[in-house]
């Protein structure tokens, strides 16, 4: 990129930008007098946790906030003042000079329009193009973002594409009018790790090729390390630290930045000391759950073949161990987890749970057996009954099992709240009054109320912010060490796995491709798929990540041949 080319591109200067939301009570000050610059062709990452104001500040520039928002200060894109811009004037900026990429590609595209229609809509909103010319340009754009057979795919509806492809379409749409600045709001958070790596590569290439400036909003430090030139850290509506990426990762100044970086699980780094405060229970040879040649298939639609979610899996889970089941979405890991606790009936093979073969037990015995199991689900907001107090939620399994008096149950709830490091008074509160991390700790308490021998945790932290995730995982591991339950930990996040798993099983397309101790699988993987999966994890360190990117490209080139 030459300097002359850069000179034609714009410069965004944000000064004293504040956003507050009117409510019935006090106005909520979401963003407080922030200032930053985005130079032409630069990638600025804004990091922070949910509620830190990073999304609000970027939407404020495009007037995409609800009417209750009050925006003050200034955001200048070259000579254009964006704050206070209204109607037709702001419409002309949107998509043409500044475009956006959103987090969830499956909801950000209109389900009833073809992707070509949606891309040409963006074009025709700003350029006097004929329908045909716009479609032709849409095909070029799809080609640019790496969609195979763009001439055919341009006529597809979003639901006919994978998540990664949808995000590519979203990027194509954002690029359609050659914007001066792209705001990418958590562009890879909803994607699988290997797909995330591909999208990050794409953004990386596009920046090199087109020189568009990008504001990257994310909470994933690995993504920041991978892409950003400079980083601004937001905390409670303010920018607490801003620096070049290399400098920020090497020398974080602000305590919050240090805390944030420390909380990031880092694949390949030693486990945090907290994890080993209580010695892990010795893994016993006793098998609590065994699967032999397990098959699960779901009937397809009339006339189409059945879907094989799990094919021929053999798996043992020993007492006191944490076995991580990893794989991408659609790999069958959740189905396998459901089988493990008798929620899903296998179509073939045998499961032995706590010494009982599941095929032969009656529904009633299965219910009794389940009392010795615990579950933690992904979304704590959805898995706790909003009409029950936290205490009632936690002790519901006891109530179902008709165990204990009211007093005993209350005592057990208090005991567990203490164990998950929440105040005992929380028993009287309701789930919506708690934060996401607190709710997930309540889910954990509920899972443990019957003193289970086996806990199945399905993506328990993937809906949480990093620093919150760190806390929940810490509590989880400590409790596992103290009480010694065996755990099947289902996740797609390899860095998390590295923090807590004794053994790892990798799934792909319903098959178990590799399993072994955590060290074996993560440090000396045998299968190409495992290698690719590990290589795709962005490391929260710009220097390491640059090397990792090269390795990943080499690996991909090698597998292609």
């Amino acid at each position: 990129m030459t300097t002359t080319a850069l000179a034609s591109l714009a410069h965004l200067a944000v000064r004293d930008l504040s956003v507050s939301f009117q409510t019935d009570g006090e106005p909520i000050r979401a963003v407080r007098r922030i200032a930053f610059d985005v130079k032409p062709g630069e990638i600025l990452a804004i990091v922070g946790e949910s509620g830190s104001g990073k999304t609000v500040s970027s939407r404020a520039m495009l007037g995409l906030l609800p009417r209750t928002a009050r925006i003050e200060g200034s955001a200048q894109l070259d000579d254009t003042e964006l704050v206070g811009l209204k109607g037709e004037a702001v419409r002309r900026v949107r998509g043409d000079r500044i475009s956006m990429i959103f987090q969830e590609p499956s909801t950000a595209l209109d389900p009833v329009r073809t992707v070509g229609w949606q891309i040409s809509e963006a074009l025709r909103s700003h350029r006097p193009l004929s329908r045909k010319a716009a479609m032709a340009r849409a095909v070029e754009l799809l080609d640019l973002v790496g969609i195979p057979d763009p001439e055919v795919r341009v006529h597809c509806y979003p639901h006919q594409m994978s998540g990664g492809q949808k995000q590519r379409v979203m990027i194509a749409m954002a690029l359609s009018c050659d914007p001066e600045l792209i705001v990418a709001d958590e562009p890879t958070t909803a994607l699988d790790v290997t797909v995330q790596a591909q999208i990050l590569d794409l953004l990386h290439d596009l920046r090199e090729k087109l020189g568009t400036a990008i504001i990257l909003i994310t909470h994933n430090m690995g993504v920041v390390a991978d892409l950003a030139d400079r980083v601004a850290v937001m905390f409670q509506g303010e920018i607490v630290e801003e620096n070049s990426a290399a400098e920020l990762f090497a020398n974080p100044h602000h305590p919050y930045t240090q805390h944030l970086l420390a909380a990031v699980p880092h694949l390949g780094k030693p486990r945090p000391a907290i994890m080993d405060e209580v010695a892990p229970p010795p893994v016993a040879s006793r098998v609590v759950m065994a699967m032999r040649d397990l098959h699960v298939s779901f009937p397809g639609r009339i006339g189409s073949p059945p879907v094989h979610a799990v094919r021929g899996v053999n798996l043992d889970l020993h007492a006191h161990e944490i076995l991580a089941l990893v794989g991408e979405s659609g790999s069958g890991k959740t189905t396998l987890g459901r089988c493990a606790v008798g929620l899903q009936e296998p179509t073939g093979g045998v499961i032995e749970l706590l010494g009982t073969p599941l095929g032969s037990v009656s529904a009633r015995d299965l219910r009794t057996l389940r009392r010795r199991l615990g579950f933690v689900f992904q979304d704590p907001a959805a898995s706790l009954n909003p009409r029950m107090s936290v205490g009632a939620c936690i002790t519901e399994p006891m109530k179902v099992a008709q165990e204990g008096t009211v007093g005993e149950r209350r005592a057990r709830a208090a005991e567990l709240l203490e164990a998950v490091e929440l105040p005992v008074e929380f028993a009287e509160r309701y789930p919506h009054e708690l934060s996401g991390g607190q709710r997930q700790r309540v889910s954990l308490a509920r899972a443990l109320v019957m003193r289970p021998e086996l806990v199945v945790a399905d993506e328990p932290t993937s809906a949480l912010d990093v620093s919150v995730q760190a806390k929940v995982l810490e509590v989880f591991v400590r409790l596992q060490h103290e009480t010694g339950f065996a755990c099947l930990f289902i996740t797609h996040d390899l860095a998390v796995v590295d923090m807590l798993a004794d053994r790892i099983a990798v799934m792909k397309d319903g098959e178990l491709v590799e399993s072994g101790t955590a060290d074996e699988v993560l440090r000396a993987p045998r299968e190409d798929y495992t290698k690719a999966l590990i290589a795709a994890v962005p490391l929260p360190d710009p220097v390491e990540q640059a090397l990792a990117r090269q390795r990943r490209r080499a690996l991909r080139a090698a597998t292609r041949q």
Binding site: L62, L64, R91, R92, V93, R94, G95, D96, S99, M100, F102, E104, T107, A108, L109, D110, P111, V112, R113, E121, A122, S125, H126, Y157, H159, M170, M173, C177, R301, G303, S304
Partner: protein, 309 residues
């Protein structure tokens, strides 16, 4: 798609037999002997009654009667009414009027309901929205026949803008007041459904995406919000089409429309099982076809709904 339609048509077969058998059994289980009733106070001579019974197969066992009936349906011979008119002719005479009225009412409630609902939804809380919410509440609360009489009196008789009754023939003009009456309540429901659906769709991520692309407000509404909001409305309108095609006894009565509802009502009060069963059979078929049309319309509205491989 063709395969899906074929499947659906096949599914209609058991529904058809089940429904007709049930109606047949119910109608014939009604108390009273229609043949004796034909003779009035004095009754019919035994020989004559027996002859009529034989003609209508009423002396046969139930399933034999049903068999004759089904055979008739498939040869488009629906038998004779007790007034010695072929039932087929009666239906052929009155059904076009009902169909016309139903389409008219459906057009009014559909077009106006969606249009007003859309505007209400995007200008939620404004004067337009609040006034039409009030209007819809009033319309829902008042019984249909009251609306009918009010329209008939003020517009038909006092102002004389439109015909007050359809006695002179079922022209579009003459059917306007009955269609407005018939469509008014559903208009209120369509309005409310559309409004709610639009309000929900407005907060969808893809609407935000369209705004961020710099699409004009008007195009966001027509290109994204409207079509994505229509599914629940189409469901409702489909159900309503079935109901309207079944005739509207009250409205037809108020405006003297010679439609299927009125004819069916008369047949029931006179105790004419053949006519009742035949009319209801036709209605069953019409409603099944209306449902099929609605399901096909879903697929046209939303590409995610796939009926064919």
């Amino acid at each position: 798609m063709a395969r899906y339609v074929g499947q659906r048509l096949l599914q209609m077969i058991p529904v058809f037999f089940g429904a007709t058998l049930l109606i047949y059994a119910l109608v014939f289980a009604m108390p009273g002997d229609p043949i004796q009733a034909m003779g009035g106070e004095r009754g019919l001579p035994i020989a004559m009654a027996n002859r009529i019974r034989a003609e209508y197969h009423l002396d046969q066992p139930f399933f034999v009667q049903y068999w004759y009936y089904i055979k008739g349906v498939f040869t488009l011979d629906l038998g004779m009414s007790f007034q010695r008119r072929p039932v087929f002719d009666i239906i052929a005479q009155v059904y076009p009027t009902t169909a016309k009225l139903a389409v008219y009412a459906l057009a009014i409630e559909g077009i106006l309901g969606v249009a007003v609902g859309l505007i209400s939804g995007i200008r939620r809380g404004g004067i337009f929205d609040t006034s039409f919410l009030a209007v819809s509440l009033v319309v829902i609360s008042i019984p249909t026949f009251v609306i009918g009489f009010v329209l008939q009196y003020f517009i038909g008789l006092k102002a004389g803008i439109l015909p007050a009754t359809a006695t002179g023939g079922a022209s579009w003009r003459a059917l306007t007041l009955p269609a407005i009456t018939l469509g008014s309540v559903s208009f209120a429901y369509v309005l409310r459904l559309t409004r709610t659906s639009v309000i929900e769709t407005q907060t969808a991520d893809f609407v935000r995406t369209a705004m961020a692309k710099g699409v004009t407000r008007r195009k966001v509404v027509t290109g994204h919000i409207l079509r994505n909001s229509l599914i629940p409305v189409v469901t409702f309108l489909g159900g309503d089409l079935g109901a309207l095609m079944g005739g509207a006894i009250v409205t037809e009565g108020v405006f003297h429309v010679n439609g299927i509802g009125h004819t069916l009502y008369r047949a029931i009060t006179r105790g004419e099982p053949t006519t009742v069963v035949s009319i209801v059979t036709v209605l069953v078929i019409v409603i099944m076809i209306a449902n099929l049309l609605v399901d096909l319309l879903y697929a046209a509205l939303d590409p995610r709904i796939r009926y064919a491989k």
